[in-house]
């Protein structure tokens, strides 16, 4: 597989991640006191959110274009796939691909105003888009199922030559979500470490320089929007089939804020960061709803989300990816030189707030 070869330094964490993906289901079966099915469902959900976060990371982290409306693309993917399988009886794989394409096309269109709007103006525009999508679904209730949603989606299946794999159990779906996540992670890493990715970052760093070097802003800004919408659309389709049903309530603005927090926590401009931020936040949200002390405080998660955003921006401007990067650099320097140098000690002092 020619295109599976990724470039770049940090491939070791991905190898470890792949090993973890394979052993987690077996591990859950031997740990007493956990319900493997539920944990696998939760991990699948985290993987699906991670797909959105990686796509959003390309848009915000690499290209520097804000979106507060990615729940809208997520909803478009979910509804497109649900309607295509339920109403038209299309096979799952085809429905997911079309859902991704529809979402990407709408992402391209939303990218057009981004050519004129920047910063807060773009944020408000995308926020409006995210707010509008669930409302449109309710309004067109006769074919979208309205506020009660769509239910009874068929099982996910994958035709392979003569026979078909049907994803029946939580474990089956877990492997499906993991496979999609792995493929889309590799794709994203390939994009950001090449020609196209450099054009994205050039736009973020200096639009003037990008234009002077021949970067067509129209083409690359709309490409970034379409690409991140493609990721959100595919993830939305997987989400619909994971839950076997969807309703407009699943796609509130809060979900867009969730996605944003994932990439800020993980570290803007890092594919691995988006991945870790999504996993961490999904588990955190689930854990918070189980805390017995605050059982009657339903919106605790929103408060925690705000706190995470503020604390990350204040203390970890490069997110989790920044932390691992500086640890790795320090480790490499220590291994190389045997002992820490004076400037490293000074740096450590500054880092720990001794000023």
């Amino acid at each position: 597989m020619h295109w599976l070869r990724t470039r770049g330094r940090a491939t070791a964490p991905y190898g470890l991640g792949l090993a973890a993906v394979l052993v987690i289901p077996a591990l859950l079966n031997v740990i007493p006191g956990v319900a493997p099915g539920y944990v696998l469902y939760l991990v699948s959900l985290a993987f699906i959110y991670a797909v959105v976060a990686i796509g959003l990371g390309i848009l915000i982290g690499h290209t520097g274009q804000i979106s507060l409306g990615h729940a809208g693309f997520f909803a478009i993917g979910a509804y497109a796939s649900a309607l295509l399988t339920l109403r038209l009886g299309l096979p799952f794989v085809l429905a997911v691909l079309i859902a991704g394409a529809v979402s990407a096309a709408i992402g391209f269109l939303l990218g057009l105003p981004a050519l004129r709007l920047t910063g807060p103006y773009l944020a408000v525009t995308t926020l409006g888009f995210g707010l509008a999508v669930p409302q449109l679904v309710v309004w067109q209730g006769s074919w979208t199922g309205g506020s009660s949603g769509l239910h009874g989606l068929p099982l996910a299946s994958l035709p392979l030559g003569a026979f078909t794999i049907v994803f029946r159990t939580d474990q089956d779906y877990y492997y499906l979500a993991a496979a999609v996540l792995i493929l889309l992670t590799i794709f994203a890493r390939n994009v950001v470490t090449s020609h196209t990715g450099r054009a994205f970052v050039a736009i973020r760093d200096s639009e003037i320089a990008a234009r002077a070097m021949g970067v067509d802003l129209v083409r690359y800004k709309t490409t970034a929007f379409a690409l991140s919408a493609l990721y959100a659309g595919i993830a939305g389709a997987l989400y619909a089939h994971l839950l076997h049903g969807i309703s407009p309530e699943d796609f509130t603005v809060l979900l867009s804020v969730d996605f944003l927090t994932m990439i800020v926590l993980g570290g803007l401009g890092s594919v691995g960061g988006a991945l870790s931020g999504a996993l961490l936040l999904t588990f955190l949200q689930n854990a918070l709803t189980r805390l017995p002390v605050v059982h009657d405080f339903k919106n605790l998660y929103i408060v925690v989300l705000g706190a995470i955003l503020i604390l990350t921006i204040a203390f970890l401007p490069h997110g989790l990816a920044g932390v691992t990067r500086s640890v790795r650099q320090r480790w490499a320097a220590r291994v190389r030189d045997g002992a820490p140098r004076v400037d490293q000690i000074v740096e450590l002092g500054e880092g720990s707030g001794v000023r």
Binding site: N190, H195, G197, D205, R211, G214, D216
Partner: protein, 262 residues
Amino acid sequence: MSGPLLEITGLTINFGGLVAVDGVDLSVNTGEIVGLIGPNGAGKTTVFNCISRFYEPVRGTIRFKDRDITRARSHEIIRFGIARTFQNVELCRSMTTLENLLVGEHAVMRGGAIRDGLRLRGVGADEARATARADEMLDFLGLTGHRDSVVSTLPFRLQKLVELGRALVSHPGLLLLDEPSAGADHRESQGLADLIRRIRERFDLSVLVVEHDMSLVMGLCDRLYVLDFGRRIATGAPSDVRRNPVVIEAYLGEPELEVSDA
């Protein structure tokens, strides 16, 4: 090619009611180093921004290699063979020196998000070739030691050099330099003049340079254009321009001109 490499006629640019550049004619012949000088606010950088298509002229034409580029879009200019640097350095600050040079090769590389994402055949070879060209340029400019440094950590003088490399790596026919000596002392700016001459020989290109440092311009350029308040007040060889009373009048109180006699 019949006419000059670059030919600007009657260029006029307005900002609101203010005429920033007023009917300027300017040309650069193949292989020439041409200087564009004048007091602060004379409209030199405005002319540059017009050639780069960042500003819209109200009147006049810009022709390059016999092609009218007056209405071209800004990202097309480098594909025609015109690359530039900026007065205050416009680098991609978060990138390394190497990555900035690779951005400089954007126009000469094949694109496509799907092609890159799937690493279709040819992507790896394209990247390797682009990196080899960038490394060659870093070697020429003596920047190899800073190859993998993030450019925002480099001193201003080196950032100017990285920007020069980024403009050169696409092998343009015309190089626009906006105040290359900014931040350099007298000795360094003499080294810069040598470098620009070497660049002309090695890459077989023409140069249009906006500069404040008179001693640099006088020693470097084949021809000069002098702007004042958006109008062209003189043109010719450096030795003629230096003695032109209109130019001396415009520069009255600016000591650089006397220094340049040395």
